[in-house]
C-alpha cells in the first residue's frame, strides 16, 4: 500500500511537467493549428532562465586576501556576490537562495516575448503550408535554440538548487498513519505539483472567465465567424502563443531543481509531451492535463519492481504502448472533440 501511494506521488511531479508542456502544445494547436516541435526547446529555455538568474545573482567581486594563503602560497581569493554587498549579507544570501522562484518573475516576460517573436517571425508564414512543413521548420528551430543554449552554457548539466527550506524531504507516510520513512517525498516536488496546479487553474480561469478568453475559445471553435464579427482573432492567437510559451517556460523554471538543466532536456520531454497531447486528444485542453497526469502516474507505477518482474522493461515503453493503442482505437484521444484531426 505504501508503495502504491509512493509511486502515485512520484508520478505526480513528472505528470505535472507533462501536463504543463502538453497544455501549451494544445493551446498552440487548438488556436493556430500548428504542431510546434519547438515547444520542448521553450521548456528548456525556461530552465535556463533559472540558471541565468542564479548566475546573475551570484556575480561577485573578487578580492584578494593577503593575510591568508592557500597551499600553493598564493593569496586566497574571497568572492562576495554583489547582491550581498548591496543588500547586506543576509538579504543577499536569501536572494541567492531563492533564485529559482525569483526566476519566475524574470522568465515570464522573456518567454512571452520569445513566443511573440517565434509566432510573428516564423510560424505565421507557415499557416498555409502543409503540416509536414510546420513540423520540419519547428524541428529545425528546436535544434537551433538548443544549440544556441549549448554554445552559451556548455554541454554539461548545471545544478540549480531549490531554496534551502525546500531541500529536504517530507515524511508523508506519518501523516496518514504509516510507519515513519515509509513514504518520503521531497518538498520541492510537492511545490512543483502545487505550482503546476496553480498555473493550470490560472490558464483555465483565464480562458473561462475573461472576455479575452471567451473570444479565444470562440476562435478555437470557429475562427472564420469570429473574424467576420470584426474581431482581430490573429492578434489574440499570437498572444495565446506567448502565453503557451510562458507556460512551457515556467514549467522549465520550476523543473530546474528537480533535474539539472542541460541543453537537450527539452527534446527528451518533447516526444513524451506529443504522446501526451495525442492521448489526451488534439486540441482538448482538459484532455492534455488529464493525460499528462495519467501517463506520469502510469509511468511511475510501471517502474515498480513488482511490475518490472512480470513485464521486463515495461517502464521504458509504457507511455508509447498506451499512445499506440489510443491512436489506433480512439484517434481523437481521451477527450478530443469529434471531428478534430480524426484522420
Amino acid at each position: 500500500m505504501d508503495q502504491i501511494i509512493l509511486q502515485f506521488l512520484n508520478g505526480l511531479d513528472k505528470g505535472s511537467a507533462y501536463a504543463l508542456i502538453a497544455l501549451g502544445l494544445t493551446l498552440i494547436f487548438g488556436t493556430l493549428g500548428v504542431v510546434n516541435f519547438a515547444h520542448g526547446a521553450l521548456f528548456m529555455i525556461g530552465a535556463f532562465c533559472a540558471v541565468t538568474v542564479q548566475r546573475i545573482l551570484t556575480l561577485s567581486t573578487v578580492v584578494e586576501d593577503p593575510t591568508k594563503t592557500d597551499f600553493l602560497g598564493n593569496p586566497s581569493k574571497i568572492s562576495t556576490p554583489y547582491v550581498e554587498s548591496w543588500f547586506g549579507p543576509e538579504t543577499g544570501a536569501a536572494l541567492i537562495d531563492w533564485s529559482v522562484p525569483l526566476a519566475i518573475v524574470f522568465a515570464i516576460p522573456i518567454m512571452v516575448v520569445l513566443g511573440f517573436i517565434m509566432e510573428r517571425g516564423l510560424i505565421k508564414h507557415f499557416y498555409k503550408r502543409p503540416h509536414a512543413d510546420q513540423i520540419l521548420v519547428t524541428f529545425g528551430l528546436a535544434i537551433v535554440l538548443q544549440e544556441v543554449i549549448k554554445a552559451f552554457y556548455g554541454a554539461n548539466p548545471i545544478p540549480t538548487g531549490a531554496p534551502e527550506v525546500f531541500r529536504g524531504s517530507f515524511d508523508f507516510g506519518v501523516l496518514i498513519g504509516f510507519d515513519p520513512n515509509a513514504i518520503i517525498y521531497p518538498y520541492w516536488r510537492m511545490v512543483y505539483f502545487a505550482f503546476a496546479a496553480v498555473i493550470i487553474g490560472a490558464v483555465f480561469a483565464f480562458l473561462q472567465f475573461t472576455t479575452f478568453g471567451m473570444v479565444v475559445r470562440a476562435g478555437m471553435a470557429d475562427r472564420e465567424t469570429v473574424g467576420l464579427l470584426g474581431i482581430n482573432i490573429d492578434r489574440r492567437f499570437t498572444i495565446m502563443f506567448g502565453i503557451a510559451a510562458a507556460v512551457a517556460g515556467l514549467a522549465g523554471v520550476m523543473y530546474a531543481p528537480i533535474n539539472s538543466p542541460n541543453y537537450h532536456m527539452g527534446m527528451d520531454f518533447l516526444v513524451l509531451s506529443f504522446v501526451v497531447v495525442v492521448v489526451g486528444g488534439m486540441g482538448s485542453l482538459p484532455g492534455a492535463v488529464l493525460a499528462g497526469f495519467l501517463l506520469g502516474i502510469l509511468e511511475a507505477f510501471a517502474s515498480m519492481n513488482e511490475v518490472k518482474a512480470i513485464f521486463p522493461g515495461i517502464d521504458q515503453i509504457i507511455i508509447y504502448v498506451v499512445a499506440i493503442i489510443i491512436i489506433l482505437i480512439r484517434p481523437r484521444g481521451l477527450m478530443g472533440r469529434k471531428g478534430v484531426m480524426e484522420e
Partner: protein, 409 residues
C-alpha cells in the same frame, strides 16, 4: 537503356562516374597541404558514409517523397539492420553478404509490422506513431534487451553490440591465428583494404569497402529510379496528392503505402547492415529519434521527391558536418590573418559558435533556411540558379513551346 528514359539514363551514368571517381573528386588538394586537411574528403571512412547515408535517404525518399507520409522513426530500421548484421558476424562468419541480407530481411519484417499499424493513420498521427515505435525500440535496445547480466542480451545496451574473441562464427574462425579479431570481408577481400595511388603530391585511396557500398548504392539508386517511373510510383504520387479521391475511385491505397513503407524500411536496414559491415559495432544511439530527425534533414536538404536529391542531401550533410567540425579557432585565425587584429578577433568570436563543436547549429540554421525559402531543397536551388544564369535559354524554350502549340493547332 536499362529500361530508363534517356534523361534518367544520363543522370544514372553521371552518378556511376561520380561514385567510381569519388576518390579523385573528393581529394582535389595535394596531401599534407593545409587546404587538404580541411577540404579533402577522400578518406575511406567518410566516403563510405556518403554512399551508405545516400542509400538510407534514397529509401526514405521513396516513402516521404512519393507518398508524403513523414516518418519520424526511420532510424529504428537503421538500428535493427546494424544489430542483425553484427549478429551474423558473431554467429556465422565475417563475410558481409549474409549480414547484409539478414539486415534487409529483419528490417523488412520490422517495417512490415510497424507500417501495418502506423499506416492506419495519416498526417501528424502517422509521424507520432512512427516516432513512438522508434523510441520504443530505442528504449528497449538500451535497457531490457541489452542487459549484459541477463541470458537474453540482444543489444548489449550502452556499450553497443561488438565482436568478441569467444564468438562461435561457425563458418569462419573465432580468432585469427595471431589471436586478434577477424575483419569483415567480401569473399576474402577485407573491407578495410585500401589501395593507395600516389601521383606526385596527391594521394588517392581506393577502399574495398567503399566500392562495395558504392555498387550497392548504385543498384539501390537504379531500383529507386525504376520505382519512381513505374505505375506503382505513379500510384504513390496519387496518394500524396489526394488519398481521399483514390479511395473514392474504389482503390485500396493501403497495400501501396505499406509496400512503399516496407521498401524504404529495407533500404534503411541495408544501410544499417552496411554501416556494421564497415565497422562491426552497433549501438542503440543509431535508433534515437534525433537520428531519425537527421535522416529527415538530409532528405529535405537534398530535395524531397526528386531522384538525385537524396544523394546530394546525404553527401552535403556528411561533408559539411566533417568540415565544420574540423574548423577551430586557430584555423580561423590563420584564414583571417590578413585582417587587422581587432577585426580578426571580432570575426573569430562571431564565427566561433558556428564551427567546431557548434556545427550542429550551422546545419540547423541551414535546414531552417532551406525549409523556409527552398522547400524543394538543393535540387530546386540548382534549378532556380540554372534558370537565372540561362535566362535566355528559358525564353527560347518558351518560344519553342509556343511554336509547337501553334503547330498543333
Amino acid at each position: 537503356m536499362l529500361g530508363l528514359t534517356k534523361k534518367d539514363f544520363t543522370m544514372f551514368i553521371v552518378v556511376i562516374v561520380m561514385v567510381a571517381l569519388a576518390p579523385f573528386l573528393l581529394n582535389p588538394f595535394p596531401q599534407g597541404s593545409s587546404l587538404a586537411q580541411m577540404f579533402n574528403a577522400g578518406y575511406p571512412d567518410l566516403m563510405q558514409r556518403f554512399v551508405i547515408f545516400g542509400i538510407l535517404v534514397i529509401g526514405f525518399n521513396i516513402l516521404f517523397g512519393l507518398t508524403g507520409y513523414l516518418s519520424f522513426g526511420h532510424a529504428a530500421f537503421l538500428g535493427v539492420g546494424s544489430y542483425s548484421a553484427v549478429w551474423m558476424f558473431k554467429l556465422l562468419g565475417m563475410n558481409v553478404i549474409p549480414g547484409i541480407l539478414l539486415s534487409m530481411v529483419v528490417a523488412g519484417i520490422f517495417a512490415l509490422a510497424i507500417g501495418y499499424v502506423s499506416l492506419r493513420r495519416s498526417g501528424i498521427y502517422f509521424s507520432i506513431l512512427t516516432l513512438a515505435f522508434a523510441q520504443m525500440s530505442y528504449n528497449l535496445a538500451y535497457s531490457v534487451l541489452g542487459n549484459p547480466a541477463s541470458n537474453f542480451n540482444l543489444t548489449n545496451g550502452e556499450t553497443g553490440l561488438q565482436l568478441l574473441l569467444t564468438d562461435p562464427r561457425i563458418l569462419g574462425q573465432s580468432t585469427t591465428p595471431d589471436g586478434s579479431l577477424p575483419v569483415t570481408n567480401f569473399f576474402g577481400i577485407a573491407m578495410r583494404d585500401s589501395y593507395d595511388l600516389r601521383m606526385g603530391d596527391w594521394l588517392f585511396t581506393f577502399n574495398a569497402g567503399y566500392y562495395l557500398c558504392g555498387v550497392i548504392m548504385l543498384i539501390s539508386f537504379y531500383i529507386s529510379i525504376r520505382i519512381f517511373r513505374s505505375p506503382f510510383g505513379m500510384m504513390l504520387r496519387a496518394v500524396k496528392s489526394n488519398q481521399q479521391r483514390m479511395n473514392y475511385t474504389g482503390l485500396n491505397t493501403k497495400p501501396y503505402t505499406l509496400a512503399a513503407f516496407v521498401i524504404s524500411g529495407i533500404y534503411a536496414g541495408l544501410a544499417g547492415g552496411l554501416l556494421s559491415s564497415m565497422d562491426p559495432l552497433a549501438g542503440a544511439e543509431r535508433m534515437h529519434w534525433t537520428a531519425s530527425g537527421e535522416i529527415v534533414i538530409m532528405a529535405i536538404l537534398g530535395g524531397v521527391g526528386t531522384l538525385i536529391g537524396p544523394i546530394l542531401g546525404a553527401g552535403f550533410n556528411e561533408y559539411f558536418k566533417n568540415i565544420l567540425s574540423k574548423i577551430n579557432d586557430s584555423v580561423l585565425h590563420q584564414w583571417l590573418g590578413f585582417l587587422p587584429d581587432g577585426i580578426e578577433d571580432f570575426l573569430v568570436t562571431i564565427i566561433h559558435p558556428f564551427v567546431g563543436k557548434g556545427w550542429h547549429l550551422t546545419l540547423g540554421l541551414l535546414f531552417m533556411i532551406v525549409i523556409i525559402f527552398l522547400p524543394g531543397g538543393l535540387v530546386q536551388g540548382g534549378q532556380k540558379l540554372g534558370r537565372k544564369i540561362s535566362g535566355r535559354s528559358r525564353r527560347d524554350a518558351a518560344k519553342a513551346a509556343e511554336q509547337s502549340k501553334s503547330a498543333a493547332e
